[in-house]
């Protein structure tokens, strides 16, 4: 089945582009790049975070999906009220499978609920603010939540409903925190705009409201972890075992109070660079909390991240505990990897998903001997491909200009100088990097193919040309991939499996990939009578 003659590098790129008529091919070409890492770490530029051409069957969703679904979705004690026709709220209802674990039966959890103003035509014609105000009041009367978030859908922006004015008015009236999001679906070019709008509002209206840090040493906040399939539970347990104190997670398994005190940590670690790196920057600027990138997907990356965090706090006891945990966990991981690696070595993977997962999951595949031959993001920016070194050279186009960039200043009272100059210098001397992200491409092999905003057309051509052993994408791609007889692993929903983070997650993932790749089920697709070696007909029924 496997295509030994599969084209590679530029030949593959050209064959994929050949699927387009000339005009579209020209437009698409800068988004398809053959990887090559120069000695200085530089990689070729990828055109990213640009509009999807109308009519193209894209993976992408909208701004609202990024705001309501991704960033605010995993927080359990905010009533997330969607202002718009019913569909937007309906589709974001539990489908991202962020898990949450309220400590007691009394703790609030609104994640199983779907709230909407269910706008009707009269609201479109005469305005929907009155209905929104009434809906906020009804939500308050029924549930008395700590906070209410209001999410704007496409028509809201067009008819001019001011969700922020309603939020402000109702906040004053009800005495709870109420904030709005101008996350109309048409803003930006993908979900990424919605992440930004969500995070900006959290930064303006929530983060910093509670200066009371939780008890404990080595306080960190984890940014860009969304608790798909229980990833956050694994990481919470792991961090606690190592001796870190988790102040907050944005936003897996979180509460609004975690957000309110997020700035009290001494270190921010960033998981998904795409969705949240600017929050890390803003918190650092305003409150002085330094940040660096971590990756808890993959056993080696997890160990490396934990060691870096321990090195930051520079505490012998912490470092010893971290080493002990790593040793214990790696022993378990390696036992499973030893069994699975021979079964997967040399197999090929393609990953087209998200804004960080297409990068992070390459580590897990590498750990069982698999090679990533093509990868790309659905909604990432150039820095996620090429590293933060290109930040200053990214041109801001009309679509990005509409997404607010907050002006942040040092908080005169609450800014803390967490790292002394002396310590910063000491860390710098051992190449300890802050505010870092190298991007996906420097880690990938030369001659692999990078494709931004992949679509159905590219996907089909890649599958036909390369016949990879596994393809990773999302729900919309899953079954068209599998109809080729190639397994597709969903990396948004994990196919309702997981967790895949941390050491236990690595074990789960190895086993899952082994199942997908080495099962015999795919070999049964062809019926026995159609196999070439099948004997010819030996007898016939008498025909009447």
């Amino acid at each position: 089945m496997k295509n030994q003659e599969a084209p590679q590098g530029e030949a593959l790129r050209e064959k994929v582009l050949a699927g387009y008529p000339a005009k579209l091919a020209k437009k698409r070409a800068p988004q398809l790049v053959v990887n090559h890492t120069h000695a200085d770490g530089q990689v070729p530029p990828v055109k990213a975070n640009v509009r999807t051409t109308p009519g193209i069957i894209t993976q992408r969703g909208c701004c609202y999906a990024g705001c309501k679904g991704v960033v605010l979705g995993p927080t359990r004690d905010i009533v997330n009220l969607v202002h718009g026709p019913i569909g937007c709220s309906f589709y974001a209802w539990l489908t991202r499978r962020n898990q949450t674990r309220p400590p007691t039966a009394q703790d609030e959890n609104f994640m199983t609920y779907c709230f909407s103003t269910d706008m009707q035509d009269e609201n479109i014609v005469f305005g929907g603010e009155k209905k929104l105000r009434a809906a906020v009041q009804e939500a308050y009367d029924l549930f008395h939540p700590k906070a209410i978030g209001i999410f704007s859908t496409c028509p809201v922006g067009l008819i001019g409903d001011d969700v922020h004015a309603v939020a402000k008015e109702m906040k004053e009236k009800l005495g709870i925190n109420i904030f709005g999001f101008s996350c109309e679906g048409y803003k930006g070019v993908s979900q990424s705009a919605g992440h930004h709008i969500a995070n900006n509002q959290l930064f303006k209206h929530v983060i910093g409201l509670d200066d009371q840090a939780p008890e404990g040493k080595f306080k960190i906040t984890m940014l860009g972890e969304y608790n798909i399939g229980g990833d956050a539970f694994v990481l919470e347990e792991l961090l606690a075992r190592c001796g870190f104190t988790l102040v907050a997670t944005l936003s897996g398994n979180s509460t609004i109070n975690q957000f309110e005190r997020a700035h009290t940590a001494d270190l921010n670690v960033v998981m998904c660079h795409r969705s949240i790196n600017y929050v890390a920057d803003m918190i650092e600027k305003k409150y002085g909390v330094p940040w660096f990138k971590v990756n808890f997907i993959g056993a080696k990356s997890t160990a490396k991240s934990l060691r870096k965090m321990a090195a930051f706090f520079d505490d012998a006891e912490l470092a010893a505990r971290v080493e002990q945990v790593i040793a214990e966990e790696l022993a378990k991981v390696e036992a499973v990897a030893a069994r699975i690696k021979p079964r997967c070595t040399g197999k090929t993977a393609m990953l087209f998903v998200g804004g960080s997962r297409a990068h992070h999951y390459q580590d897990l595949f590498a750990e069982i001997g698999m090679k990533t031959i093509a990868a790309g993001y659905e909604f990432a920016h150039r820095d996620d491909y090429e590293g933060r070194r290109v930040l200053s050279s990214i041109t801001v186009d009309a679509d990005s200009r509409n997404i607010e960039e907050l002006e942040v200043e040092k908080d005169p009272k609450r800014y803390r100088k967490i790292l002394s100059d002396e310590k910063r210098q000491k860390l710098a001397s051992v190449n300890f990097e802050f505010n870092d992200y190298q991007g996906m491409m420097p880690q990938m092999d030369d001659e692999t193919l990078v494709i931004d905003d992949i679509n159905e057309q590219d996907t089909q051509r890649l599958l036909e040309l390369c016949k990879p052993d596994i393809f990773c994408a999302g729900i919309k791609e899953k079954y068209s991939v599998q109809k080729h007889g190639i397994p597709c692993k969903q990396l948004h929903s994990y196919d309702y499996g997981g967790p895949y983070a941390g050491f236990q997650g690595a074990i789960n993932f190895y086993q899952e990939i082994d199942r997908l790749i080495n099962t015999r089920i795919w070999s049964f697709i062809e019926p026995p009578w159609e196999v070439a070696a099948s004997p010819t007909l030996e007898a016939t029924y008498e025909r009447g």
Partner: protein, 461 residues
Amino acid sequence: MALLRHTNQPAVERQALTINPAKTCQPVGALYAALGVHNCLPHSHGSQGCCSYHRSVLTRHYKEPVMAATSSFTEGSSVFGGQSNLLAAIENIFTLYAPDIIAVHTTCLSETIGDDIPQIAAKAQNEGKIPAGKFVIHANTPSYVGSHVTGFANMTKSLVSYFAEKGPAKLRTVNVVPGWVEPADMREIKRIAALMGVEIILFPDTSDVLDAPQIGKHEFYPRGGVTVQALRKTGSSQATIALGPTASGSAALELEKKCEVEATMLELPIGLRATDAFIDALRRIAGVEVPQALKDERGRLMDVITDMHQYFYGKRVALWGDPDQLVSLAGFLADVDMQPVYTVTGTPGRAFEERLTRVLAGRVPGVRMRQGAQADMFLLHQWIKEQAVDLLVGNTYGKYIARDENIPLVRHGFPILDRVGHAYFPSVGYLGGIRMLEKILQALQDKQDRDCPEEAVELVM
């Protein structure tokens, strides 16, 4: 612990807030209907997210590829109108995906802007963007009117408006508009008609589209779906049978208006008597006898009902979903002496309550029913908290109520995100009736086996 821990207050009237809706918005219905046309690519004229969400929910429901394109609106298109996006989309779609038809549906965004789809399509035609013999059709599906069922009805009606032609002579065919049912149901309707020797044109028809076999090859346009040729002929058919007035009524009426093909409005053939009505209508319109094979199927359904009556009798049931499904289901449950006490649908329209009241015919004391915006699953749950039920029948979103209240759930309707079977096994017709009863019995009897005192466990039931 409870999953719906905040549902603990008496039901109060709400004016503005919908909680846990029993509906979604129009475009997904239009997209589903368009998938039931051969070589047709549905197109969402709006932001990318609409198309992404609709494809996702349909994919989760069917575990099949669901192809559809989008106009990918940006802030600019929202200000200046979506014409240039749609023109580009039409050109790109015909070049890249080569469909016979692009079926455009609108969204709340393009409706609020006021984009005129026929005008844009005409411009595309004039600019040579539509290849000869190919079509761009459309339905207006503003998300702030009606529900997903309205969207299905609107696109189905558009199939008539765009394609039905009144030919010089009447054909032998009978049109059947199946309503928003599963591919398996559409296949079953065709099987029943074939057994009766009646030539039908079924539209839309998602069988062999959303239940495509795994053959190691991806067919971008699976072999199923009603053809343009067949749609043209609907205008010369003997009659149209609309199954479920909410989803199918407007297409049938349009055929009557446009081509003088007489419309017969029936309830969806779910359950004994609704199936009887469908078969009787086909029999009368086509002038055929009901074949023995169908009489036997009916007899087998009757056998299940009479054999297992004690397990149905008096059981209280809560239902949610779409009007056409609910009316037939509730009628069927009442026919086997169950008590469909609570019914909600988010799809607005007073006719629903009248139809349901008619079909229940006073057989369910204390019945509660609601339709429209606040007729949601939160309200239904509050009713259940007031007085419990024995069984839930509805889509996957009922699983939280089922778990919290320990009430068995029979999945039916849209979407079913967590089980398979609905695409393959029908709920319409007599066989569908047997399947529904089997599922109901299984749910009720499994619960009895699990929860009853040890000494009461029955081996024989």
